[in-house]
C-alpha cells in the first residue's frame, strides 16, 4: 500500500436539529438564548476511515443508517459537526444522475451546465466535449433540448459527463444502473478503467454482488456508527449473515437488491 491517501475521515460526527414544529426552529433562530426548543439528533458518530488512490470502498448497511448522509458530508454538501475530513484532489459527487440536468437546455449545453454545477471550468469541459458526446452515444441528438430525451438518454448524458471530468475521487450513490444492459456494461467497464488509472471510489449500494466486484474495502454502518470496517469479502459476509439472522435469507436479499 504505497499509494497516496486521498480521502481520510477521522471521527466524523453529524447532528441534526430536530423540531416538533418549524415555528420552534424560527423562534430559536432569533432568540438570544441557546436552543431551547429543539432536540439534537446524532445521525453519524465517530466515523473514521481512509481511502487510497485507485481503491474503492463500499458503504453498506440497512436503509436509514446514515450512508447517504455520510456521503454528503464527505462531498461537502452538508457540514459535519465535528471530526476531520481531508480530501486530496478533485472530488465529484455522483449522487443522483438526473439532479442538475436542465431540461430546457440542449444536451451540449447541459454538459457545460452539469460541469459548472460541480465547479468545473468551461475550459476543461471543452477539451473533453468530443469524448463525452462519443461516450454518451447521443450523436446528433446532443444538440436537441433535453426535454425531448428519454430517461435512459439523460442518464447516459450525465454519466458521461461525470466520468470524463477527470475527478480524483468519485462518490457514487446507487447510480450504477444506467440505461440498457449494454450501456450499463460499458459504464461499469469505464469505472474499472478509472480505478486502474488511480481514481478512488466511494460507493453506496445495496447490490452486494456489485460491491464485491468493485470494492476492496467495505464499511458497514449501523445506526450511525461503524460496525465493521475492512476487507470487502469479510465485511459483506458478516453483513449477509447478520441479514440472515434477521430472518432474511441471502437469496431473498439478493433478489431484492437487483
Amino acid at each position: 500500500m504505497n499509494s497516496e491517501v486521498v480521502v481520510s475521515v477521522d471521527g466524523l460526527t453529524k447532528k441534526y436539529w430536530s423540531y416538533t414544529h418549524a415555528a420552534y426552529r424560527l423562534l430559536d433562530w432569533i432568540s438570544p438564548f441557546s436552543r431551547r426548543h429543539g432536540v439534537e439528533r446524532e445521525i453519524l458518530s465517530g466515523i473514521s476511515f481512509e481511502l487510497r488512490q485507485g481503491q474503492a470502498i463500499a458503504l453498506i448497511g440497512d436503509s436509514g443508517v446514515g450512508k447517504s448522509t455520510l456521503l454528503k458530508c464527505i462531498a461537502g454538501i452538508i457540514e459535519s459537526n465535528s471530526g476531520k475530513i481531508c480530501v486530496k484532489g478533485i472530488m465529484c459527487p455522483m449522487l443522483q444522475l438526473k439532479g442538475g440536468i436542465n431540461p430546457n437546455l440542449s444536451g451540449r449545453e447541459n454538459i457545460y451546465y452539469l460541469a459548472a454545477l460541480h465547479g468545473f471550468q468551461r475550459g476543461l469541459v471543452s477539451g473533453q466535449l468530443a469524448a463525452i458526446i462519443d461516450f454518451s452515444e447521443l450523436e446528433n441528438k446532443v444538440d436537441e433540448p433535453v426535454w425531448t430525451y428519454s430517461s435512459g438518454m439523460i442518464m447516459r448524458l450525465a454519466f458521461s459527463v461525470y466520468v470524463h471530468l477527470k475527478p480524483d475521487i468519485l462518490l457514487i450513490d446507487e447510480t450504477l444502473s444506467v440505461g440498457d444492459a449494454r450501456f450499463q456494461e460499458k459504464c461499469l467497464r469505464r469505472l474499472h478503467d478509472l480505478l486502474a488509472e488511480g481514481v478512488a471510489l466511494i460507493l453506496v449500494s445495496h447490490n452486494l454482488q456489485r460491491i464485491k466486484q468493485f470494492c476492496n474495502q467495505a464499511l458497514w454502518l449501523d445506526n450511525g456508527r461503524v460496525k465493521m470496517l475492512g476487507d470487502v469479502n469479510s465485511v459483506v459476509q458478516s453483513f449477509e449473515s447478520h441479514e440472515v439472522g434477521l430472518g432474511l435469507t441471502s437469496a431473498v436479499t439478493k433478489s431484492l437488491d437487483v
Binding site: 426552529r25 433562530w29 432568540s31 442538475g100 449545453e109 451546465y113
Partner: protein
C-alpha cells in the same frame, strides 16, 4: 444584535470572498439561466417588455383617460403620464419579481443543492444578477421607445444605473432570510406575494409623493422602496440631480440590511442545507 451571531464581521468577509471566488461560475450560471429561461417560448425576452407595457397601458387608460386622475392630467395627459409611470413601474416590477423568485430560489434548486457542494447563496446571487440585467434592458427599451415618440430624455437619467444596482443589493438583503425561512415554511412565498401587492400601493409608483397628505408622508419615509422609486422619478421624469443626502440614504438602505442579512444567513445556512 444577538441573532447575528458572534462573528458577524468575519461572516460578512467570508461571504464576500466566497462571491469573489465563485465569480466565474456565477457568470456561467447566469448565462445558462438566461439561455434556458426563454428556450421554449416564441417571443422570449420580449415578454419582459410586453408585460410591463400591458400594465402601463392599463394604468394610462384608466387614470389618464377614463378616470382623469388629476396628477395624470398635470403630467401632460396620456403620454406624459405614461412616461412618469414607466420610470418607476419598470424598476418596481423587477423588484417584485426578484423578491418573489428569490424567496423561492433555494426550494426551487433543492435538487441541485442536495447533490453538489456549491454554496447555496450562489443561486440567490445569480437571481439578483439576472434581474439586474432585466432591469437594464427594460429601461433601455423604455428610453428608446420614448425617444422615438419625440420625448426629450434628460441627461440626469444616467443616475438610474447606480440606483438600480443599489436597489438590487437591497432586494438581496431581503431575499437571503426569506429564502431560508421558505425552506421551513412554504407559506413565506405566499406571504411575500401578498405583501408585494400591498407594498406597491404604499410606494409612489403610480402616483407622485406630493399627492399624499402631509400626515402620511412620514410613513412613506419609512418605506425603503419609496426612496428608490422616487429617485427614478427625480432622475428621469423631473430631470434633477440627486443630492448627497438622497445618495446616502440609498447607500445605507443597501448596505445595512445586507450586512444584517448576510450575518443571519451564514448562521443558519448549514441548517438550511440539512433540511432541503
Amino acid at each position: 444584535m444577538f441573532f447575528l451571531g458572534k462573528n458577524c464581521f468575519t461572516s460578512v468577509v467570508q461571504s464576500l470572498s466566497l462571491a469573489w471566488n465563485y465569480r466565474k461560475l456565477l457568470v456561467e450560471l447566469s448565462l445558462h439561466e438566461l439561455r434556458s429561461r426563454h428556450s421554449r417560448s416564441a417571443l422570449g425576452f420580449m415578454w419582459h417588455i410586453l408585460s410591463p407595457l400591458v400594465q402601463v397601458s392599463l394604468y394610462v387608460i384608466a387614470f389618464g383617460y377614463i378616470m382623469q386622475f388629476r396628477f395624470a392630467m398635470k403630467a401632460g395627459g396620456g403620454l406624459g403620464f405614461a412616461f412618469y409611470l414607466c420610470s418607476g413601474l419598470i424598476p418596481w416590477l423587477v423588484f417584485a419579481e426578484t423578491l418573489q423568485r428569490g424567496t423561492n430560489t433555494l426550494v426551487a434548486h433543492a435538487n441541485i443543492l442536495q447533490k453538489t457542494s456549491l454554496p447555496s447563496c450562489l443561486f440567490i446571487w445569480r437571481d439578483i444578477v439576472i434581474r439586474l440585467i432585466d432591469l437594464f434592458v427594460g429601461y433601455a427599451v423604455f428610453v428608446a421607445l420614448f425617444t422615438v415618440t419625440g420625448k426629450n430624455i434628460p441627461f440626469t437619467m444616467v443616475q438610474v444605473i447606480p440606483v438600480m444596482v443599489l436597489q438590487q443589493i437591497f432586494v438581496m438583503a431581503l431575499v437571503f432570510p426569506l429564502a431560508a425561512i421558505n425552506i421551513f415554511f412554504r407559506d413565506t412565498l405566499q406571504l411575500v406575494k401578498a405583501v408585494v401587492r400591498f407594498w406597491m400601493w404604499v410606494t409612489p409608483v403610480i402616483y407622485p409623493l406630493e399627492i399624499i397628505p402631509e400626515k402620511y408622508r412620514l410613513i412613506m419615509a419609512f418605506n425603503p422602496m419609496s426612496h428608490f422609486i422616487s429617485s427614478y422619478h427625480e432622475a428621469v421624469y423631473y430631470g434633477h440631480w440627486l443630492n448627497g443626502k438622497a445618495w446616502l440614504i440609498l447607500f445605507l438602505l443597501a448596505v445595512i440590511p445586507t450586512f444584517v442579512s448576510i450575518c443571519f444567513f451564514s448562521r443558519i445556512e448549514s441548517e438550511c442545507r440539512d433540511n432541503l
